[in-house]
């Protein structure tokens, strides 16, 4: 089975009134078969636009450069939009945060589920319906046969998101991209929806790229975690490594400030805010918030690698992990 997604050297800029702004810089990202990769970062870190670039859904004002974008074994860098469209619909599905804006309001759930299947000539209408009902039942939609005849507005938000997930798996794609797929849902619905996604990905061997800012979600879902900050990947590693032994100061800060159970005491935070993309500093983007920043950080930090672990910092693993985290440094400063 080929790798569902491998993109390298991806840079994206947006043409705005003030000129061109680099929003994603030299990003490498891959998802293996049956693997769940979480792309983590705060708003403006470029995580969504990176995923959109993989499937050519960038806004008109965006320009993209890349060394390579391989989807399910096919290099797509030089193929036409039309050929790409055929590949995309067949091999990649996307689940967005807001299901209402992704479902067609004038088509029934059944029509939408079958449409994708029929367009990509997977089988007859009868087969499509059988598969649709089967998938709806698997994602926990009760009375699936009746739901097939309903319109999106007749379903609750949680049910619509389940329909979106069924739709994503309809054509047995190689890759499913979820862009904050559960952020708009209530916590109980979120937990169940995540479980469905995880079980479906595991059962089918589909690669899942999950974009989220919620480390609680990441810790329960990810095999591998890719952390982005100000348009760049700053750290990458397995889920266990990222949570137990984060290296990059930003990752260490993020892990610190994700709230865990505690009955009292304040919250740890990373002082300062993400730099505006129009005014990213020279050198390391995180240096204005980093307690270990020094003169060397005014130069581009190197990308360090240890096996599957990568991070972008002047500090090696030992030095970085011995340094104060942004959160602990902030606590000390407060006294």
């Amino acid at each position: 089975m080929s790798q569902p997604l491998r993109m390298s050297g991806v840079s994206i800029d947006l043409k705005l009134t003030g000129g061109r702004v680099a929003v994603v810089r030299d990003v490498d990202l891959s998802v293996g078969a049956g693997e769940i990769v979480c792309l983590v970062g705060e708003s403006g870190s470029g995580k969504t636009i990176t995923a959109l670039a993989a499937v050519r859904l960038l806004p008109r004002v965006a320009g993209m450069r890349s060394r390579s974008v391989v989807i399910d074994g096919t290099e797509t860098r030089d193929i036409t939009d039309k050929a790409f469209g055929a590949l995309l619909g067949d091999r990649v599905s996307i689940v967005f945060q807001n299901p209402m804006s992704s479902l067609n309001p004038v088509l029934t759930i059944g029509e939408q589920l079958c449409e994708a299947y029929l367009t990509h000539k997977r089988g007859s209408r009868a087969e499509a319906e059988v598969r649709a009902i089967d998938l709806l039942e698997r994602v926990g939609v009760s009375a699936a046969a009746d739901r097939m005849r309903q319109f999106p507005h007749q379903l609750s938000g949680g049910l619509r998101q389940r329909v979106m997930i069924a739709l994503a798996f309809m054509c047995e794609p190689a890759l499913v991209i979820g862009d904050e797929p559960t952020t708009a849902l209530d916590v109980t619905m979120q937990a169940q929806t995540l479980r469905l996604l995880k079980d479906l990905a595991r059962d089918t061997g589909i690669g899942l790229l999950l974009i989220t800012h919620d480390l609680g979600v990441v810790s329960r879902m990810a095999d591998r975690v890719v952390v982005m900050y100000a348009g760049r990947v700053v750290e990458e590693g397995t889920c266990e490594e990222i949570f137990a032994h984060p290296i990059h100061p930003y990752t260490r800060g993020l892990v610190d400030c994700a709230p865990a159970h505690a009955s009292n005491g304040g919250f740890l935070s990373i002082p300062g805010e993400v730099p505006a993309l129009t005014a990213t500093p020279v050198g390391c983007d995180f240096r204005s918030r980093c307690p270990s920043a020094h003169a060397d950080c005014h130069r581009e930090p190197p990308i360090r690698e240890e096996g599957a672990r990568r991070w972008r910092c002047v500090m090696d693993r030992k030095t970085a992990q011995a340094a104060p985290t942004p959160a602990s440094a902030a606590l000390e400063a407060e006294g």
Binding site: M189, Q192, R220, S263, N264, G266
Partner: protein
């Protein structure tokens, strides 16, 4: 404990038109009683549609209950007393930019309550605004900045400073950090925690996030479909949640815990019924694994377990 703000047996229903075009009633609140003590932090938790935001609006005097009373220091809130009431109870909303006036500067936004209530001289108002700006971590250089130039975290700081200007006794925060990034969320929550001892202010903290509530609030009120299903000291309620809904919410809260599994799919049905068509008996029974004939027939009366009150027929089990 002396209560500052009390809500007694408040109901609120809205007339809406259903999918079939027929008018129907949505009962957003169905007899909610709640008291907020001086310098107390009370968390209201529940999912969308549970009535928590309607309750917030009623506590702020922005909406009128269909029946029941809201009291401030024992005085009943009526149409004529909203202005005095507003001075004592101030809001912080979820959308920080949407809750600021985009055509006024940061300083003008912060002093707006003072201007509107004509508190102090213009000079005193400006001084108080600047003082509060520095307390919430906004340097003086932001004075003449407009909200559109602020980040979400900065805008929420402006909203907090503005809420504090008239020296209110209660702050009603409706999901104040849901729109913010994690690292910024922590800054804002710390700010809210830090000003409590200094101002003696009470907090009503509305959230769907029990992990945040656990640290922010001494007392928790869990709401489901317009009713309080469980309430008590946060540590006690969360250590042994007695209501199946509280258990479900608590187990669905995902702490960053690699290796921990997602909650099992059989935890219960996650689909909330239509608030215009609330189930008979116990409203939660359609999602409850333990529901029996008794739950279909009879609404459970609140039962007391020490400091905790639970509305479930099987809370003792």
């Amino acid at each position: 404990m002396n209560s500052v703000l009390e809500v007694e047996n408040v109901t609120r229903s809205f007339a809406v038109r259903g999918q079939d075009g027929k008018p129907k009633q949505v009962q957003a609140l169905r007899g909610v009683t709640l008291a907020v003590g001086a310098n107390e932090s009370v968390g209201i938790a529940g999912e969308s549609g549970c009535g928590k935001s309607t309750l917030a609006k009623i506590m702020l005097g922005l909406d009128t209950p269909t029946s029941g009373e809201v009291r401030m220091d024992g005085a009943v809130l009526t149409g004529g007393s909203t202005r005095a009431f507003a001075r004592e109870v101030q809001p912080i909303f979820q959308d920080p930019l949407g809750s600021l006036n985009p055509r006024r500067t940061v300083e003008q936004n912060v002093r707006l309550p003072l201007d509107a209530m004509r508190i102090g001289t213009p000079k005193e108002r400006a001084a108080r605004a600047l003082d509060l700006m520095s307390k919430v971590g906004l340097p003086e250089r932001y004075r003449h900045t407009y909200p559109s130039q602020l980040s979400g975290g900065q805008a929420q700081r402006v909203a907090i400073a503005r809420a504090l200007t008239p020296q209110p006794r209660v702050l009603v925060c409706d999901e104040p950090t849901s729109a913010l990034d994690t690292s910024v969320q922590a800054q804002i929550l710390n700010l809210l925690l830090a000003m409590r001892p200094e101002t003696g202010i009470s907090l009503v903290f509305i959230t769907h996030d029990l992990i945040v509530l656990e640290r922010m609030c001494e007392r928790v009120v869990v709401m489901y479909l317009g009713e309080v299903v469980e309430t008590g000291p946060t540590t006690e309620v969360l250590a042994t949640p007695r209501h199946p809904y509280t258990r479900m919410l608590w187990r669905s809260s995902l702490t960053p815990d690699p290796g921990a599994e997602l909650p099992p799919a059989e935890l219960g049905n996650a689909i909330t019924p239509d608030p215009a068509n609330i189930p008979s008996g116990c409203a939660f029974r359609t999602r409850c694994r333990h529901a029996t004939d008794l739950c279909n027939a009879e609404a459970p009366a609140p039962q007391q377990f020490g400091n905790v009150t639970v509305a479930c027929h099987y809370a003792a089990a």
